[in-house]
Subunit: 603 residues, 2 copies
């Protein structure tokens, strides 16, 4: 059976020495995030997920959710009790506003906790995860009455939340949705239609579920411009906050999926269900994008979370399993065989996993901080900068993070050899769970198109120019430090490839947008290589500083920082060479991709 040890030491390193969150102590909420508080959150939160959520991860996968003939859904054994503990200990309230019962901690801190929760039990983490998305939308677009009515009990975890976008015939192309909303006399709306792939759509963890639903109002145009957002509670909520009658929204069936078996993925039937408009009519998509952007960062974090736990177990197995001898001669002649750790190709997989998980952790926490700064930074200029950067890199974190999570899970399974393929060892679950993150909240191909088709060009390319400038400046500063020169040069080169590819898009995309579409995915990967490279440069820089200070007090001592420097070099040597190949693929253009008629594919 797998194990999980929350990487508190690494999180602390990133928060304290890379992001230096104490620099922001005078911003709202950051005062709550003193080093002691953050340490307590990470350690106690880590203990909670490891002790309560992790033990029901594998059993939850094996048992799955069950829909009953009356449409109710029960989660696997132990989930209800664990959720109760989750609510009671307040883990869902970390970064919610104080006025609605939250702890008002910075987003960057709750991001750190979410990673741990995903590692411990991704299917479980999705229940509060969806609730948070719904809270975000209500806070952004809901009326004060709606906020007061729904948000406090969603923050506490007493009620759950969902996002209802997809329908059988449309996922990405939401302009095609058929769900209809017709106005009632009392100001409410009557919602009718079928939604599919609704995560956490029905379950037994909460006493009510607040659905946020996209629908079209009478006369709305047949495009994404005609979409409105509604709040539809499973149980009507009386004015005194008690639950009223059951609304006409039911779970028609649950899906049998490749993974995340313990999260109920529902077909939701709205049969004249009562709902209320959230925000303005026909402005629903913008509201939904608020949820979606937050959700996409959360999905990127799923790549990290699954990658981390899979990697930890591969390390343990490589340490325990003896097979073969070191190429340089027996490392432990007194044993019948050496451990897997002596084999360079096993280490290659472990080092790739280490470099990518630690790099992604830095990138995800950096992203969490940008979310904070985009709302809370002191100057408009700083808020703008943070908003630009997180807007640009959200699709990269989602796309590159989840691709990496799947690859790390696959490689970690590979370390186990045949045992990795057997269910009881638990590794194949990580691969199956990681797989969905590349698909939902917009497939990774959709992320790539969001990046090149929307984010790149916004405000005249301001965001990407900012990224280039930051990388260039930090590379220039780092080159002077001998320990950083190698990585700085590799990053400079990759940044050059990214700039060249950007120029190529500008030169060719106006004439033929397919030239950009054909290179979009490689471009996303290239920007991810640069962004994670930047994180490694910052981590290496922080490690050099810590070593110079003689910081050997914390867990791991000097060896922790020395390992960072080795891993940074590994990233430069073994990951960054991809940048040149990606640029060449992009610059080969659309011709061979678009040339063939459909018949040539055999349809």
């Amino acid at each position: 059976m797998p194990r999980y040890n929350p990487p508190v030491r690494d999180t602390r390193f990133i928060l304290d020495r890379v992001l230096k969150i104490d620099n922001y102590a005078d911003l709202p909420g950051f005062a709550n995030a003193t080093p002691d508080t953050v340490t307590a959150v990470l350690e106690e939160g880590g203990r909670f997920v490891a002790e309560v959520l992790f033990p029901i991860n594998h059993s939850g996968d094996q048992q799955g959710c069950t829909r009953h003939p009356d449409g109710s859904v029960t989660t696997p054994d132990g989930f209800k009790e664990a959720y109760q503990q989750f609510v009671e200990s307040g883990w869902g309230t970390l970064s919610a506003p104080e006025q609605f019962g939250g702890q008002a901690m910075p987003h960057v801190v709750s991001t750190a906790f979410q990673e741990y929760m995903i590692s411990a039990n991704m299917a479980f983490a999705m229940y509060p995860g969806l609730t948070h998305g719904a809270i975000e939308a209500l806070l952004a677009k809901g009326s004060p009455e709606q906020q007061e009515k729904y948000v406090p009990k969603m923050v506490s975890g007493e009620w759950g939340g969902t996002m209802n976008l997809t329908e059988p015939h449309c996922g990405t192309d939401l302009g095609l949705i058929k769900t209809r909303a017709t106005p009632n006399a009392d100001g409410s709306w009557s919602i009718t239609g079928t939604k599919i792939f609704i995560s956490s759509g029905e379950h037994d963890l909460t006493s009510n579920i607040i659905h946020l639903v996209l629908a079209k109002t009478p006369g709305a145009p047949e495009s994404s411009k005609g979409i409105s957002l509604f709040v539809v509670p499973k149980f009507m909520v009386n004015d005194d906050g008690t639950l009223g009658t059951r609304n006409a929204v039911t779970c028609g069936s649950i899906e049998h999926k490749m993974g995340i078996h313990a999260n109920s993925t529902c077909v939701m039937n709205y049969d004249g269900a009562t709902g209320w408009l959230v925000g303005e009519e026909m402005k629903g998509l913008a509201a939904m994008f608020i949820m979606m952007n937050a959700a996409r960062l959360g999905v990127g974090l799923q790549g990290l979370g699954i990658g981390e736990v899979a990697y930890q177990n591969a390390v343990q197995y490589a340490h325990d399993r003896r097979q073969g001898r070191a190429l340089t001669g027996a490392a432990e002649p007194e044993e019948k065989a050496d451990t897997l750790f002596v084999h360079p190709d096993v280490r290659r997989m472990l080092m790739e996993a280490k470099a990518m998980t630690e790099g992604l952790r830095a990138l995800c926490l950096w992203g969490g901080l940008q979310v904070d700064l985009s709302h809370k930074a002191a100057s408009e200029e700083e808020r703008q900068l943070a908003d630009d950067l997180i807007g640009l890199l959200t699709p990269v974190i989602k796309g590159v993070g989840t691709d990496a999570g799947y690859r790390i899970a696959t490689d970690s399974q590979q370390v186990y050899g045949g045992h990795g393929y057997i269910a009881e060892w638990g590794m194949e679950q990580y691969v199956r769970d990681a797989r969905i993150a590349m698909i939902y909240e917009g497939t990774n191909g959709v992320q790539a198109m969001d990046l090149v088709g929307r984010k790149l060009a916004q405000n005249g390319g301001r965001a990407v120019q900012t990224l280039f400038r930051i990388v260039t400046e930090e590379v220039a500063a780092a080159k002077a430090e001998p320990e950083l020169t190698h990585l700085a040069e590799a990053l400079e080169k990759a940044n050059g490839q990214l700039q060249a590819a950007t120029m190529w898009f500008m030169a060719n995309g106006m004439k033929d947008p397919n030239q950009v579409g054909a290179g979009a995915y490689s471009y996303m990967e290239l920007m991810g290589t640069v962004a994670i490279g930047l994180m490694w440069l910052r981590m290496a820089d922080a490690a050099v500083a810590a070593l110079a200070e003689g910081d050997d007090e914390a867990e791991g001592g000097r060896a922790f920082y020395e390992a960072k420097l080795v891993t940074a070099r590994f990233y430069a040597d073994r990951i960054m060479p991809n940048a040149g190949a990606l640029r060449r693929k992009i610059e080969s253009g659309a011709e061979t991709i678009m040339a063939l008629p459909v018949e040539a594919f055999g349809v």
Copy 2:
């Protein structure tokens, strides 16, 4: 539900115009492979697998195998009947020797049929697949009496066969096996021990199962040099060929696996089972390697087979599903949305799948032909050449082929968006099934070590020098043809990267073998890029010739060949750029991979 259409047109193109098997008509067996016979085999064989095996693929996955309290195992509904039809129509006898009831067809032809069988139902195909491996070992090392006793009924399919290598504590490192064989007075041996991960170890398809088992004889050294091979029938075979008493070999349990649910993966308990030595005592590993090399090519073919069927379904879905609009404006304004085919990033995935499956098909069939030539070519020189090349490229076909199969299955699933994650659509099964091929018959990391640690250096590097020479000569010849120049130049460059990496290994490996081990996987990928690139050069060359001849009679007409030329350019533009990155990774050496102490990984 998925569909499957055997790619007969493409197979014929490769056999007829790329490999030109009619050039070999005077070699033993090839006279049986007239164009008409081969066409009949491909079309009828393709129809058989599509109509009989494919319909029980998804149901077989859902139902899986069942072990009963008495140790017997039943396969999923329909498997027994399908197997009966398989035996009756003689599909298992294609390339077996005539003296044992086979049709003595060339291996290259049965390879083509095996691809189809895997695409239709990989779990099913493993039953006769393992039998063939056992036949190979008996034909190579068994006594004439053993061959006469077992082989005819294994060829006919009346009996099955298995390979028993792995034990709970050892897979790759077979020197550690504990299964013991002690001699009986009558010349037989008594076998005791536990074997795990035994594919097709127990089932209800055949009346007898012939196990080939590795065990150690008394006094054998504690290394792979002390291993002997035994034949252990499930039921003893009387002198008249009838079945006698049940042998003391039983299935202790079956594994619950990520995929290939319809193939029984057994723990086999040998409790003083009666067996007979195959070949010489303590020479068992060499005998097993005969099975294993054939099996590795068969596993590479699994990568191709699953990749092909997954790709076909992704194409169909991209054709059927309407979502969004072409970047260049609505392609079908009268419809509410365009098909997925208009989106460059969807096409990117489909083109990658097309380029890799067609390239792998050429490589696998080329490999099948080398197996034929290594036995049957007229001169010792030609046999040697074929043996060198297939020895070198067997780990590449296995490693690169199965990595590609998994990637193609994953990308094809991705084309389906959310539906790809749902079991009933059938795409997630392909990912789960494809995954095992990267692990068994030696993990792909073991393949990489076989390539760089054994195959490269054999006979003073003769095989790899031969490969370099062939690529160089064909590139030089192709450059003169305008349609081929682009690919030829890309291949020349990649071949240069491969040569440089080989030189780097030679210069650095003697001092420190970890320098080679650290680059082994990238080297395998690089050689695969070159080998498949060579196949694309040959296919493009054949397409140019066919177009010049005005060949527009066969299915697809000129468009078939024109698509080959586009796909060849795609391969040059979008796959070959990886070669430079792979070389750079190799030449970065072992330092960052081997530097960290185990503690730095958190154990």
